[in-house]
Structures are given as C-alpha cells and as structure tokens.
Amino acid sequence: MKMLEDTAILIMEDSEDHFQLIKNNLLPTHTDSDIIQFKNGRDVLDFFFKANGEVCFEDRKKYILMLDISTSQVNGIEVLKKIKRDVQTKKIPVIILTETDDPDTVEQCYSFGCSTYIVKPEEYQDFEETIQKVGHFLSVVETTLIQ
C-alpha cells in the first residue's frame, strides 16, 4: 500500500464523537498521516490564510480536507469557496461529509469545486463502513504539495 506520511487529513467537524469515529476508521489506512480536527470554519481558514488573505501554512505538505458544512460559525460552503478560490489551496481535494441531503446544496458544493459529496449515514455501522471505504480510497489517491 502507498505510504501517506506526507498527507495530512484535515477534518472540520464540530462534533467530538463524529471526529473520533472518523479518525478511528481512517487510522488503519492512514497510520502515518496527521489527522487534525478543526471545530469550525474560522479555524480552517485561519490555518490556511493570514488576516490579509495571504496563504500561510506549513510548506511542503500535502493535505486532504473533509468538511462538515453544517458546522456553525463560518459556513462550511464559505470555507470550500475560499479554499477553491485560492491558487494554492484549490489543489487540495475537499470531501464534503455532512448531514445535509439537500440537492441544491449538493449542486452548489460541486459547482464550487468539491471532490465528492457524502452524506453521513445515520446508522453507526454504516457510518463506520463509509469512512473505511473513504479511507481505502484515499490510500490509493495521489495528492499534491501546496507551496
């Protein structure tokens, strides 16, 4: 299996339970990756952008971003929009993982450039399975450096 030690998985998820569940199910396929939680969109944007809009993040890192767009404060869609508008951060694959099942939201997210839109399954078992499949898929995906 491909080593992913360079890729950090950033997860915007305000629910601690969900984050732990996601993390635990990603770990088998991403033992060497940093899995980082952000509680809200503000924190994600602060991670990537300085106050003046300049990009500021760790050099020579690869990222994958999972967004829960229902998270409060800065709207998840706003985060997606901002990330996909910047020349550098637009290279980060963004997976929307959220409760919302609204077709308009789905269309909106795809037109803003999300990679996939996944609805969180309600059943715990299904949720776990879904994340594992996401993990397996991400383990065969190539990501790119952001500079």
């Binding site: 637009k90 290279k91 099942d101 789905v106 996939t116 609805v119 996401v134 190539e142």
Partner: protein, 151 residues
Amino acid sequence: MKKDTVILIAEDDSGHFQLIKKNLWLTCVDSEIIQFKNGQDVLDFLFDMDTNAADEDMKQYILLLDIRMPKVDGMEVLRKIKEDEKLRRIPVIMLTTTGEPNTIKQCYALGCSFYMVKPVDYALFMEAVQNLGKYLSLETIRLPFIKSNCA
C-alpha cells in the same frame, strides 16, 4: 450506486479499460460504463449534450480520465470541462500511468477531484480500482445532476 449514474471512462488502451471495468464490476458497481478512446470523443459527448433537457433525463456522471490519449489529452479535456459553467460540476478522477508530481499538481490546479496512478503490479492495480469502485458505490455519495438527452 444509483442506476442513473454513468461512469465515463476515457482510456485509449482497451486492455486497461477492460481491467478497470472488470474490477469496478467486482465491487458491485452496476452503473452504466461508457468508454471513450480519445479526448475528443469525451469532449464531443459532454459538449453535445443538451443541458436544457427535461428533468427526467437528468443523469449523474463521473469521469475517469487518462492523460496520454490520442487527439486531445486528458489535461486538455479536464481544462475544457472545468471551464464550462455546467460541466465543471462533474467529478473528474484522473486514472493514469503517470505519477509525475508536476502532472499531479497541474491536474489538481485544473480542478480534478482526485488523482490516481495505475499501479504496474496487478494486485495493487486491482486494489486501487476496487477501492475506487467501493468509494463510488457508497450508499450516501451524492453526485451532481447533469441534464442530458443521451441514453
């Protein structure tokens, strides 16, 4: 995966196409699969669609795109799709033999959803395509609807 999802595979090598198709099927992907042997055919298919067709004709597409292809290469196809207001919503997954970091970067910059390298080792190849298949077969995955009059 829902039946009305169409997987478009742009792959000039029929051997590769068969291997991809076979392994997708192994993961119970029951979507329609269409092969295109070069980039121009993909563009023709997508751009000739009547995007104003009735709602009942709407389909969900996902494109698996190779890079080195006759006529129009994959990067150009990707650029054209992502420049189009409506087609840009289609998730494009690069599935190619190149693992060149520069190419990967360019594809992500152009707006591909994911980039996958076809492994030479068949066991790894199977794993990669099957993982993709399982991902695409997720019950709760949502794809954009593209209006189309094509079957």
